[in-house]
Structures are given as structure tokens and as C-alpha cells.
């Protein structure tokens, strides 16, 4: 049951923000952190799913922003040279021309991740971090990365 307390930091309290290019809405975004006491390379992420208001998001509509770069979710397991520092927030952008409506939304994040130093007798410890949080949408300000 080690590591369980870190799951609480997975979803950041930051507001959900609609993303616009000039006045054109292209999606919305929120922030997550790596649920551990230490950083790892992104390749330790074995699965990452997002749900908003109970609906699972299509992985092809999601862009993962970290270290000034963009990644598709399918690329994460291959990124063995992209370090996720424990204090850094990743931005999860959901491409959706409708953006997200004002008010509270339930965001759920499921991350399966490998603890890379744990193979004492062969097998690595693989953790499931599954958290939900109600986030508020900020008042539709113009923000983009």
C-alpha cells in the first residue's frame, strides 16, 4: 500500500481553462502532477486515461504538454529521456471545438505507472493511481500555451 498518499496530488486544483486561438475555441485544458515523491521519465507511464463528467475522452483528442513539448498519449511509454520533475505540472489539453461549459466538472484521471527501481526480485511494482476531482472552469479567458 506504499505510495498511495501521493495519488492525492495527481489532479491539480487549477481551474479548467478554455483554449482559444484569437477568438476561436479549440479545446480546454487542466493540469496534473506525477503521483509520487520523486520524478521519473515519462516512459514509466504505462496507461493514462481521462474522464470528464463520467465520459471517457478519446485519446486522439488529448495532448500532453510537459517540458515545453507536446506529446500524444501513445508516445508516453516511449519517452525514456523526458523527465517529469515532481514539482512540474503537465497540461492536459483536450481538443474540442466546443470547449467546456462554465461551472463545476468532475475530472477523473487513471494512471498506471511503473516504479522503475523496484525490481528487487525481477518484477517491477506497477501502481494504479485513480483519482477524481471536481474542478471549476475559469471565466472563459483567452489562454493558450
Amino acid at each position: 500500500m506504499d505510495f498511495q498518499a501521493y495519488n492525492k496530488i495527481l489532479i491539480c486544483d487549477d481551474e479548467v481553462v478554455n483554449v482559444r486561438v484569437d477568438s476561436v475555441t479549440i479545446g480546454y485544458e487542466f493540469k496534473i502532477k506525477y503521483p509520487s515523491y520523486r520524478g521519473v521519465f515519462l516512459s514509466c507511464i504505462e496507461a493514462l486515461d481521462f474522464y470528464v463528467d463520467g465520459r471517457k475522452l478519446d485519446k486522439n483528442t488529448i495532448i500532453f504538454y510537459l517540458n515545453g513539448k507536446q506529446f500524444l498519449l501513445e508516445e508516453l511509454p516511449e519517452l525514456f529521456k523526458e523527465y517529469w520533475f515532481i514539482s512540474d505540472k503537465a497540461t492536459i489539453r483536450v481538443i474540442d471545438p466546443n470547449g467546456i461549459a462554465a461551472g463545476p466538472h468532475e475530472v477523473r484521471v487513471f494512471m498506471r505507472h511503473r516504479v522503475p527501481y523496484t525490481g528487487y526480485f525481477g518484477e517491477y511494482l506497477v501502481l494504479d493511481s485513480d483519482e477524481s476531482k471536481t474542478l471549476t472552469v475559469s471565466d472563459q479567458q483567452e489562454v493558450s500555451l
Binding site: 500500500m1 506504499d2 505510495f3 498511495q4 498518499a5 501521493y6 492525492k8 496530488i9 515523491y37 520523486r38 520524478g39 521519473v40 521519465f41 516512459s43 514509466c44 504505462e46 511509454p77 516511449e78 525514456f80 523527465y83 520533475f85 515532481i86 514539482s87 511503473r114 516504479v115 522503475p116 527501481y117 523496484t118 525490481g119 528487487y120 526480485f121 517491477y124
Partner: protein
């Protein structure tokens, strides 16, 4: 009052709760360590070095400056062997050498004389580090952490390297998790939160302690969660290490992780046999640092690390100074 030369330091990792929740940044953590009266410190680089794994010289200088500012002594730079980093294969020999040499260099630049490495380094690479350690005037030590223990065959190989060609530069860091014999309070709280009925949990802990087999301890009405946690208790707290073994390998100990999870008071740890451990080290003549390594943050983010560390220091001092072996 017993005489001894054991020093109590702190692993900054003990402040994980405050650090990961952004209550304290690295400087805040160092300031707190100093305020608590600690001198010697350990840093888990992958946790608190923002540019890790490739910190710049500028950052390392800045960090050395911070240590000076808060009158702290750099004792141990903790590195991992993240063998399972890649999805497709384990790290190669060259990758392990690269990250280990890097850590030796970073540690030296930041003023640390010792790097903590891990079990997966392999005897061959451990040996290959001797020339690097000698050239850089650095020490390298493997942490022995639960579920490893002295009798794991790999460790017998490591000890022979430490006592052979590696003498003086290669050693080990016992972590007291190897001696933990029962679940700590935060583990039990978490089990109850996950649905383990508290009377049944108490019975399991009791059965485990008194040697009742797991099969008997698992009652027929146990839920899946209760079965799973019972199995975890039986597998995890199987007490493979004997405290006397510390004495046997004392010549190889460069540094120690004083692991603890939750202290209900400042006198006694109910899960790790500190009385036996500390008197053995003291009477064996250990003269190095024991790092206070609070790890309750794995289980509960609402515990005040400072109070836990204060209890820990008081308990250690009491045992070291007063207790007979």
C-alpha cells in the same frame, strides 16, 4: 550516559509531504532541517533537484551555497538505478555506468562525499566504479532495503567486492526497513480506510506476530481487500534480517537509513526494533551518520513530518545514551 560517536542526520526525503505539496521548496526544507538542529543531510536527487537528471554546474553551485547558508553538512547524495525506466527493456551496462558516473560527479560538485546507489547496479558495474571513486575521491554505497536482506546471494557478492578491491570506497547503506516486523499505524489506518474491518485486521496482525500461518489467518468471510492486505502483511513483514547481522557487516557500512513510518511517542517504535539496532551499532563502534528517514508520507499526507522527526531524534538519543544493550 553511554559514550558513542554516532551522528543523527536527516534525509530531506523525510519532508516529502511538505515538498510535494509545495508547502516547502528546497530552500525551505534546508531551513527547516537547520531549525530542527540537524547538521548532516542527504538529498534524494530525483526528488529535489529541479534539473535532474542533468543539473547544471550553476544549479549545483547554488545548492552548495544553500547548504552553507543553512550551516548543513552534505553527507549523502542519493541516486537510483532506475533499471525499469524503459518500457521495452532494462537499462544496459552503459546506461547504468552513465547515470552512476553522473551522480558521482554531481555529488562531488555539490560537496557530497558519498553517493547512495541501489541493488540493481550489479557486482560487475559496482566494481567498475572503483576507479571512478578513487579518481574523484568519492565513496559509493548500495542501499540494502526491504525486501532485500543480508542473505540475498547478490549481497554476498557485493560484500566481497566491498571487502576486496573496493575497500574504503565501496560500501553499503542498511535501511531499517529490513528489520520491520509488523505493519505500522498508518498502514493499518489505510487498510481500515480501504474496508478492512478493524477487529479482523487486529486479529490478522496478532496472528502474524504469533506465527499463525497465513492460511489460518485469512478467515472464510474475508473480502477481496481483506485477503489482499492480509497477504501483503504476511509477505512484507517476514523479518528476514537479523539485527546481529549489522554487527557482522559493520566494516562495510558507510551510512545508515534510520527508516521509520510513524512514531506514536518519542520513546519507542512499535514496528522496527530500534533498541536492539541502536545498541548493536553503538556497542559495535559505528561512528557514522544515521539519517532520520521518515516514510509515513507514503501512506498519509496529513502527518506533520517535523513532529515525527522530533520524536525520532528523542527516541534515538534516549536509546543511544541510556539504554544498555
Amino acid at each position: 550516559m553511554k559514550q558513542h560517536k554516532i551522528k543523527l542526520g536527516v534525509s530531506l526525503y523525510s519532508f516529502s509531504t511538505e515538498f510535494i505539496s509545495d508547502q516547502l521548496d528546497l530552500e525551505g526544507v534546508l531551513k527547516r532541517a537547520n531549525e530542527m538542529g540537524y547538521k548532516g543531510v542527504e538529498i534524494v536527487a530525483a526528488q529535489m533537484v529541479p534539473e535532474y537528471p542533468y543539473p547544471s554546474d550553476e544549479w549545483l553551485e547554488y545548492f552548495a551555497g544553500l547548504l552553507k547558508k543553512y550551516d548543513l553538512e552534505p553527507v549523502c547524495w542519493s541516486a537510483y538505478i532506475d533499471m525499469g525506466t524503459r518500457s521495452d527493456r532494462d537499462l544496459t551496462r552503459e546506461e547504468i555506468i552513465q547515470c552512476t558516473v553522473n551522480d558521482l560527479i554531481y555529488a562531488k560538485k555539490a560537496g557530497f562525499p558519498l553517493v547512495r546507489t541501489q541493488h540493481a547496479i550489479s557486482p560487475e558495474i559496482f566494481r567498475a566504479m572503483i576507479s571512478w571513486c578513487k579518481r574523484l575521491d568519492m565513496k559509493l554505497a548500495i542501499e540494502m532495503h526491504h525486501p532485500h536482506h543480508f542473505d540475498v546471494p547478490l549481497w554476498q557478492e557485493y560484500f566481497s567486492v566491498m571487502r576486496g578491491e573496493g575497500k574504503g570506497v565501496l560500501g553499503f547503506v542498511p535501511d531499517f526497513s529490513i528489520f520491520q516486523y509488523r505493519p505500522h499505524q498508518l498502514f493499518l489506518n489505510q487498510a481500515i480506510e480501504l474496508g478492512f474491518r478493524s477487529d479482523r485486521l487486529a486479529a490478522v496482525v496478532d496472528n502474524h506476530q504469533t506465527g499463525v500461518p497465513k492460511e489460518t489467518a485469512i478467515e472464510s468471510d474475508f473480502s477481496a481487500v481483506e485477503r489482499e492486505i492480509t497477504t501483503e502483511i504476511y509477505e512484507k513483514f517476514n523479518r528476514p534480517a537479523r539485527v546481529e547481522q549489522l554487527q557482522e557487516y559493520l566494516d562495510c557500512i558507510f551510512y545508515i537509513h534510520g527508516k521509520f513510518y510513524y512514531l506514536p511517542d518519542d520513546r519507542h517504535d512499535p514496528c522496527v526494533p530500534y533498541e536492539a539496532i541502536l545498541t548493536t551499532l553503538r556497542d559495535g563502534g559505528y561512528e557514522g551518520y544515521i539519517a532520520s528517514e521518515y516514510e509515513g508520507h507514503h501512506f498519509d499526507a496529513d502527518i506533520d513530518s517535523v513532529i515525527q522527526l522530533q520524536r525520532y531524534v528523542a527516541m534515538n538519543n534516549r536509546i543511544l545514551n541510556e539504554q544498555e544493550a
